[in-house]
Symmetry: C2
Subunit: 568 residues, 2 copies
Amino acid sequence: MARERKVPVAETAESMAQKQREISVSEFFLKNRHLLGFDSPRKALLTAVKEAVDNSLDACEEAGILPEIGVDITQLAEDRFKVSVTDNGPGIVKAQIPRIFAKLLYGSKFHRLRMSRGQQGIGISAAGMYGQLTTGASTRILSKVKGSKMAHHMEVQIDTRANKPAILTEEETDWLPVFLPVNEEGKPGRPIEYKHGTGVEIVMEAAYVRGKLSVDEYIKQCAIVNPHLQLHYRLALKGKAEGGKGKGEGAEAESTSAASAVTYARAVNRLPEPPTEIKPHPHGVELGLLMQMLKGTAARTLRSALTTDFSRVGDRSALEICERAGLNPKANPTRIAHQESEALYKAIQETKLMRPPTDCLSPIGEAQILAGLKKEIAADFYTAVTREPEVYRGNPFQVEVGLAYAKPGENQELGAEEPVRVLRFANRVPLLYQGGACGMTEAVTDVNWKTYGLAQPKGGLPVGPMVILLHMASVWVPFTSESKEAIAHYPEILKEFTYALQECGRQLSVYLSRRRRQAEVERKRSYIEMYIPHLALGLKEILEFDERKEKQVIQKLGKMLEKTHLDV
Amino acid sequence: MARERKVPVAETAESMAQKQREISVSEFFLKNRHLLGFDSPRKALLTAVKEAVDNSLDACEEAGILPEIGVDITQLAEDRFKVSVTDNGPGIVKAQIPRIFAKLLYGSKFHRLRMSRGQQGIGISAAGMYGQLTTGASTRILSKVKGSKMAHHMEVQIDTRANKPAILTEEETDWLPVFLPVNEEGKPGRPIEYKHGTGVEIVMEAAYVRGKLSVDEYIKQCAIVNPHLQLHYRLALKGKAEGGKGKGEGAEAESTSAASAVTYARAVNRLPEPPTEIKPHPHGVELGLLMQMLKGTAARTLRSALTTDFSRVGDRSALEICERAGLNPKANPTRIAHQESEALYKAIQETKLMRPPTDCLSPIGEAQILAGLKKEIAADFYTAVTREPEVYRGNPFQVEVGLAYAKPGENQELGAEEPVRVLRFANRVPLLYQGGACGMTEAVTDVNWKTYGLAQPKGGLPVGPMVILLHMASVWVPFTSESKEAIAHYPEILKEFTYALQECGRQLSVYLSRRRRQAEVERKRSYIEMYIPHLALGLKEILEFDERKEKQVIQKLGKMLEKTHLDV
């Protein structure tokens, strides 16, 4: 098969210049689709569902609506699935639909400092782009804005060379609840009638596999950390036998044979505290960014630029910073940007300021974590810790850790000789893949669990029938890739997780010692119960006791021995 | 510090639409700079050097020039460094300089299928953007195009809101070799006079730390896999004492006290085989991409679109595909794109085609790997394997593995009880960070090294005084993030590495058994040598031998025992 290698002509600066070209961000991610979580058919299915559900949850919460979401997965052919996610959110105005669903790097969450699930403006468009790449199909959107009569139906594709949406269909239509949950017998049930909301439907190459990395697991974990969510999940797999008509959509649905549906019921009828948007904290702003902010400020004096564009800079702090930098508080900030920014930057670092406000965060809270764990994981001991907010690179963040320990053998899913299960969450989103690359996993392995009574191989996870839940809430979660599966190893973040884990570990240690003592007591009691009757029988024969006397002796001996041995 | 939480006003579809905005790719990566390898000052220094050197090497090789590169790192303040990299490449035409150095996603390597170090069009602009962010400084470029008299000097910054270059300085100037190597005494040496080339200088927040993750290590490994490279590396660290004037650049260089310089000499005076550009192979093209290619083709018939836009489709294969799909070979490809592309896609999958051409790859080669390992790593046994090219997602790739085993205790850097050292390379670029997340590391841990005579803890790296070198060459390396530090876990790639590792393992196993037998022989011989004299002395006393007789007996006994025991 070897052929003569054609030697390419040597390039010159001029010939190379001819080949230089702009790369659109869509082309970039199309070629690098593993960066977005679309590297295998199995993961693709999960990623698509995750991106759509995250968006729905964000939209509902921002609009102050208790979220009710339908997730509907239908297998159309061996390696082809239709994913449809519908919510009761505020809807999306028509003009924004194409860009939200068919343009990478477009959204409302990137430019603000406030906790939300989405942050990049990539996810749902990437899912649509993957569907388009693998099946040629368009992304279908149906959205009805709260207050309007009609809904909009659109079919869009992404023009990857330009990273721009192409609209294929666009019509006003009645609002149809796209999601029809099935009832227990697998028949279509009562349609859920949302008054408004958004539904998105993507056809893609995918694979459905059960287990710890499945959509099922994602949805289950999602329910744990979002107790205010009502979620209907329907899965229709294609069997070999011809089944009955499923949703009456024609040929493709006709051979659907295995359908299952489950509703994760809302546990709390209250939305989480809505996080507020904050301004950047001066201590987290790098020199270059400071210069850019001063250049672009609407303020007319340095003093007012400092107080209005940043958080935690009051009038007094602003004056202090100016004095320290040797700058006139009334100076034009644009001029500072070019000349004296370095002095200003140093002065800011040296000035004591209050920590950033933390109402931009909405942690789950210890009570909710305990409730979530108790609901989903059968165990004997539960504990949870929510740390105080901290800051990395100027971004406020807060970590939480929950822990559930089952009596060995009592929870089939938690082996006593297995590594503990680690559930990772970022801004209330379950992270299933890339555990090994995640800072949270590292924090768990770095804690010395032997101190708390668990076995732990060197450098590994502790061993035992236990689940550890970790949550990072932040205005900007530093993910290790655009697929948002693992968080980066910032030392500030790891330290907080370590403290939280250690606190939970100490609680666990108290529980485990008590349990060990109890077990010891049980063991001794069982010895006593086993031997005393024999002892009494012996005494009876030697001392010629009657039955009554024998029973008395047994009782007395038992009490005496218990008192002696069990006073622990 | 707690304050009343201001409850944000609930959003509506309309108010949310107001906040939707485009996100520039520069803004995105500025906020996510850990994705580009700029998450810590230490790593930032390495990443900047790496991106610049990769570009220089690519440019030289494409122009058919034996590369000579100067890397000059000067510490300006505790956490501030100047990185300057100069090459003897073909230079860059003036108009392209700003976009190459101050615009993300711009370049010549993304849109072609051919092996090169750079592929994304991000790296060097990202380094400049990081410098700008942390110090406010511009990227300085000096470039002289081969054949022109004058050089261009430019200072550029990146306008991150628009991802566009801003030119601050632009002038014609004499070509000055930016790089002045120091001689052994730490004094500036003879300037290297490149006739043409490009120099880039970036000032950034950084930290220099020696060790396995340092610039030193990167450069050393770079020399191993690029024996045709001549590289001068100069490092000037700022000491506390006031040193002599270094390069006469004024105050900032005055306290430079510790300077070191090293030249990695060229070992081979021949460039590697230049890889050629290929067309996509039809079996690696997804349905959506096929549709896009047909839509955009310059060909006027389906048949000619198939033969000209794809590799390995001859006239006969094209006709076979058309027939199988039930399509007219003379049909308009644009029409096919919309209607019958799925049939065409299936027909392509079912048609047998030659594997993609592989002259797009330029592996290092077994001989060069052995030479590189022998030059840099003192060991007793070396072996190397270059596998035949394979294909993942339509992209040709080729893997290579080298192995060096030192006698325990003979190489201080390789502990006999330590996990083996793994050196990872992608398209001849050393990968230092994120070893744990890399498919190559996984391939090493997945091999059962006990079979080949090495200890190996469960799920871990084998243990022993050994270095394993792994190289993946491909037209598109699937990195796990834009910082290009680890490769994704594509099964096709892992399988190839496994085979190569096993082949090396078998060679190692032969060597280790031989060495064990030799050791056994040595041990026995030393026993014999130890005991025979005593035995002879005993015999001498019993049988009253004289000295001569005693010596004879010793000799005879020795020969006899050796013959009996050492016939292995």
